[in-house]
């Protein structure tokens, strides 16, 4: 070890150590000469004798240096310096290669930073590997279902020993009363163990204890750092102050530090006590449960205990277990968070990886072209004693220098492009930590650059080092057998490039078609010109039918008066975005006996009279709502077509009575509305019932308002920023304490449904375009070279009267042929490989012949065009000049 450290240290002091050795040697020689002079030799003889006695100085110095430093490192450093000089001597090649590599490596770095943020970087909590989510195993699902109800949570919390703490939480959102009206904030209702699991020491104050878990416990809140800044200006006096969330007072008992983060797509600003129970929120599967494994307990052990606990639960509550309940299980939290992103990330990695391979092939091809001019240089090295390994090492070092430099440029590219990439990503993409080019990304880029350099440098290095020494010194160095071999290599590389490019283009084509098909889905109503304003009505103020209707009437009245507005309405759940569902019973319907509609889940909406007209939803039977349907009038309901299909088997539903909630009087079906996409654009059709807002019961309103926001909907001839501002002002004028949490046009909402597809398409189209450019450049380079090889031949042919058109055609055909072979190979690979894209596609098959054909044709045309330029150069030759060459 000591000698190694000494060798390492000496690398940095070489000049000084060399000088020292020189001085020592000189001293030694002088003393020897002195001795010989004393013995009687002349000055000159003495010097000669001294040298003889000493032995070869140069050899000794060489073996001394080998002993002193790390010879391998020194030769690599030397090769690197030489490589840089050599690259600078051919600036055209170097620039082209650097550009290619920067694009290829840069794209990989950018994507890798996303992968790093989602999959690799550890979560910002203490011992993050010990955090596990706890969920139910159900039939048909590979992974545990995250949501639990209160009874299960309380049971398992008591029984499980494998975890130090088991916490439950539920996402919540409130209107926070502020000085200038209100702000809608997101938060979490958490059990007392939450901050032990997701470790966070508060910056000020404290977090929750067991007393907060008890029903009737203190109404207290912990704030995020951001909210504390916004509302209290960072004043520590905030502790003990009261804030109002949905009109309820909460006392601030803690503030979290600025680096604390909940793994969530939006900021979590408030934490309130969950008070886990078997009723209320806990009555349904609304809790997410996570815990911290005890030290020394493995995941497997924990899961074994979990299954045993499940058996115990089954014994105690047999009627709560359904036949699809298979058990309970733990899963690492990081896995749970990232599971949705995995397929997309793999797609992205595959795409940039393919681009990198294309870049490598291009660079290798460039290197081979450049190599033909270096035969003499390599031959001289070989003649001076360098063996093959040494030469290959030198050439590889040069390649790696090239790729590392390209990587630096690529990193700059990645750094610049990451923000753009993030704006393209769909907001639902699970990125919970900051995406940036950090140390991990740098290390990965370095490794990629190293491998890339070795990969594209290997073929040229091996080919170049194989040269016959004698051949290399011949004048006609460009016509040796090895240059012919490298020509074949280059053709192979170009074919490979085209094949890889084919893969990228086909992927892009399929995703493009998917995107267009999704965009064309008809949601069942008129999407254009609709602006929505989302608002939470949670709280006491609008929980009675009367109060709600008064508020809504005022609001709609004002909205209708905004210039350009054609109609306005309000509903408690927009299409596409899913809303509240309740249990409906049809006591005297056509389906009876075992098929009777009893407590069947149905989506339920309350809406104002103008709703169907504003949305453009067609009423296909009976009527919609009108002024008859006041609060005192007979209770009515409008159902959708799916409701009729499922609960009436297509028979006429008009006149039948239905009931929801035991407390509500029955309602008569008076109309059927056209089906509208309620649960996403491509989900299954759901049954839906609409009641007039004037007739919605207090119980139903309360339930709806505590879980779902309402949306004001406005159809306007002039949608846009001014409309939004006007809407905001009008609504604020009636009740400033009710902030709008989001303004979105219906087109935006629809677009959000296929934002993932848009992202994938954009990314792949971008990468495929770059790949296409590289492939075109590769073909251009190859054909140019081939043409330059044959200038004499063309000159002869032209002089002998050949038609320029024929020569042109033959050259272009050469390029096109290579492209065709590449297309064929690429198609074969794609036919097999696109199967992996199945999950991303919609409405188009993985082997869509149209895409394959179009992409193939595109590639051949591009290849032909790339060959055209050198071809024109060839036919424009002056035959006399060409012959003279």
């Amino acid at each position: 070890m000591r000698p190694f450290l000494s060798r390492l240290a000496s690398l940095f002091r070489q000049a000084r150590l060399d000088a020292r050795l020189d001085e020592e040697v000189q001293f030694h020689l002088d003393m020897l000469a002195q001795e010989y002079v004393r013995r009687g030799l002349s000055e000159a003889d003495a010097r000669r004798a001294a040298r003889r006695a000493f032995g070869g100085v140069t050899q000794m110095k060489e073996s001394y240096r080998d002993q002193r430093g790390l010879p391998l490192v020194e030769t690599i450093a030397q090769d690197a310096r030489y490589g840089v000089r050599s690259l600078l001597r051919t600036p055209g090649f170097t620039f082209a290669a650097l550009l290619t590599l920067a694009l290829g490596i840069g794209a990989n770095s950018a994507i890798f930073s996303v992968v790093n943020a989602v999959l690799i970087r550890p979560l910002p909590y203490a011992d993050p590997d010990r955090i596990v989510t706890f969920g139910r195993m159900v039939r048909g699902a590979q992974h545990p279902q995250e949501n639990m109800d209160g009874r299960r949570y309380l049971f398992y919390r008591e029984h499980l020993q494998s975890v130090d703490a088991l916490a439950a939480w539920s996402g919540v959102g409130f209107n926070l009363a502020t000085d200038d009206g209100g702000e809608y904030v997101l938060g979490r209702a958490v059990s007392s163990e939450y901050f032990a699991v997701f470790t966070g020491r508060p910056l000020h104050g404290s977090t929750f204890t067991r007393e907060h878990d008890a029903p009737g416990g203190p109404a207290e809140v912990v704030l995020s750092h951001g909210l504390w800044q916004r509302q209290f200006g960072g004043n520590p006096g905030a502790l003990g102050a009261t804030i109002r969330l949905a009109d309820q007072p909460y006392r601030v008992i803690g503030v979290l530090p600025s680096d604390y983060a909940a793994m969530s797509t939006g900021p979590v600003d408030v934490y309130i006590p969950l008070r886990p129970a078997t009723s209320g929120r806990g009555g349904g599967f609304n809790y997410i449960v996570a815990g911290r494994l005890k030290a020394g307990v493995t995941l497997q052990q924990a899961n074994e205990e979990a299954q045993a606990a499940f058996q115990a639960f089954r014994e105690e509550f047999p009627n709560l277990i359904r036949n699809w309940d298979l058990g309970v299980a733990f899963r690492p939290y990081h896995d749970t968070l990232s599971r949705g992103a995995r397929p997309a990330l793999l797609l992205m990695l595959a795409a940039v990886g393919t681009l990198l391979l294309i870049a490598c092939a291009n660079t290798a091809s460039l290197l081979l072209a450049r190599a033909t001019g270096r035969g003499r240089e390599i031959a001289v090295r070989a003649a001076l004693g360098a063996n093959r390994v040494r030469i290959v090492r030198q050439l590889l070092t040069e390649s790696v220098v090239l790729s590392l430099t390209g990587a630096v440029a690529g990193l700059l590219l990645a750094y610049w492009s990451v923000p753009a990439l993030l704006t393209l990503l769909p907001p639902s993409f699970p990125i919970y930590q900051e995406v940036r080019v950090d140390a991990t990304v740098l290390a990965a880029t370095f490794a990629i650059a190293l491998l890339t350099g070795l990969l594209f440098g290997l073929a040229p290095a091996v080919s170049l080092s194989r040269r016959d020494l004698v051949d290399a010194f011949k004048d006609d160095a460009t016509r040796t057998t090895s240059s012919r071999r490298s020509a074949w290599l280059r053709k192979g590389l170009v074919v490979g490039e085209v094949a890889l490019c084919m893969l990228l283009l086909i992927g892009a084509g399929l995703l493009l078609q998917t995107f267009m098909k999704m965009r064309a889905i008809d949601p069942g109503f008129d999407v254009r010109g609709l602006m929505t304003a989302r608002m939470s009505l949670q709280g006491e103020r609008y929980s009675t039918t009367e109060a709600l209707n008064r508020y809504v009437e005022q609001g709609l009245d004002r909205l209708r008066r905004i210039p350009g507005v054609e109609s306005a309405a309000l509903v408690n759940g927009l299409p596409i975005e899913r809303g509240l569902n309740l249990n409906v019973t049809i006591p005297d319907g056509p389906l009876q006996g075992s098929e009777k509609v009893e407590n069947a889940t149905t989506d339920w909406r309350f809406a104002t009279h103008d709703y169907f007209k504003t949305m453009g939803i067609e009423i296909v039977a009976g009527r919609g709502f009108d002024e008859r349907d006041t609060s005192g009038a007979p209770r009515v309901v409008v159902v959708n077509e799916e409701f009729v299909t499922q609960f009436f088997r297509g028979q006429n539903p008009l006149g039948y009575k239905v009931t929801v909630l035991d407390t509500d009087p029955p309602m008569e079906i008076v109309g059927v509305a056209r089906n509208v996409r309620e649960a996403g654009l491509v989900g299954p059709m759901v049954t839906l019932m609409y009641v007039p807002i004037t007739q919605a019961s207090e119980a139903a309103i309360r339930i709806s308002n505590s879980y779902f926001p309402v949306s004001w909907v406005v159809r306007s001839r002039a949608p846009g920023g001014r409309l939004v501002e006007a809407m905001r002002q009008e609504l604020r004028a009636i009740d400033p304490q009710q902030p709008v949490s989001a303004f979105r046009s219906m087109e935006e909402i629809k677009g959000a449904q296929f934002q993932a597809q848009r992202f994938q398409m954009t990314l792949l189209v971008l990468l495929a375009s770059i790949g296409l450019l590289l492939a075109a450049a590769g073909i251009y380079g190859l054909i140019s070279y081939a043409v330059s090889q044959r200038t004499r031949e063309f000159g002869i042919r032209l002089a002998l009267g050949a038609r320029p058109g024929a020569i042109l055609r033959s050259i272009v055909a050469q390029g096109a042929l290579l492209a065709c072979i590449g297309v064929a190979l690429g198609s074969a690979a794609a036919a097999y490989g696109t199967r992996a894209l199945q999950t991303f596609l919609f409405g188009v098959s993985t082997n869509d012949p149209l895409t394959f054909a179009a992409v193939g044709a595109l590639l051949v045309i591009v290849a032909a065009t790339a060959s055209l330029v050198p071809a024109f150069r060839a036919v424009r030759l002056n035959p006399v000049a060409a012959l003279r060459e």
């Binding site: 000494s6 040697v25 001293f27 030694h28 006695a53 000794m60 002993q67 002193r68």
Partner: protein, 98 residues
């Protein structure tokens, strides 16, 4: 041998060590004197000797090498090993003598 020389004669420069080795071996060891230097480097890398600049007898700057504590231990160890080998060889050869 170098270690022993430094042990006996104290700190010495390269020329001095070479001369002493030649002298002691009664010119039986005719090494090129220059080969001493890589050997000195090896010993220094292992921490058995250390070197620093000093003034020679004729007021010239020379690099002086001296034994370290670790070097002294190594010398003792190697001497012991050598003597053991000599002893064994002696017994082996001696037992065959008439």
């Amino acid at each position: 041998m170098v270690l022993k020389t430094l042990d006996t004669l104290g700190a010495m420069h390269g020329y001095g060590i070479a001369q002493r080795l030649q002298q002691v071996s009664e010119n039986l060891l005719q090494l090129n004197q220059g080969t001493l230097y890589p050997a000195l480097l090896r010993l220094e890398q292992r921490g058995w000797i250390t070197s620093k600049w000093g003034l020679s007898e004729n007021n010239r700057r020379a690099r002086y090498y001296s034994l370290t504590k670790a070097g002294r231990r190594q010398l003792a160890r190697e001497t012991e090993d050598w003597q053991r080998i000599v002893g064994v060889m002696g017994r082996v050869l001696g037992s065959e003598a008439p």
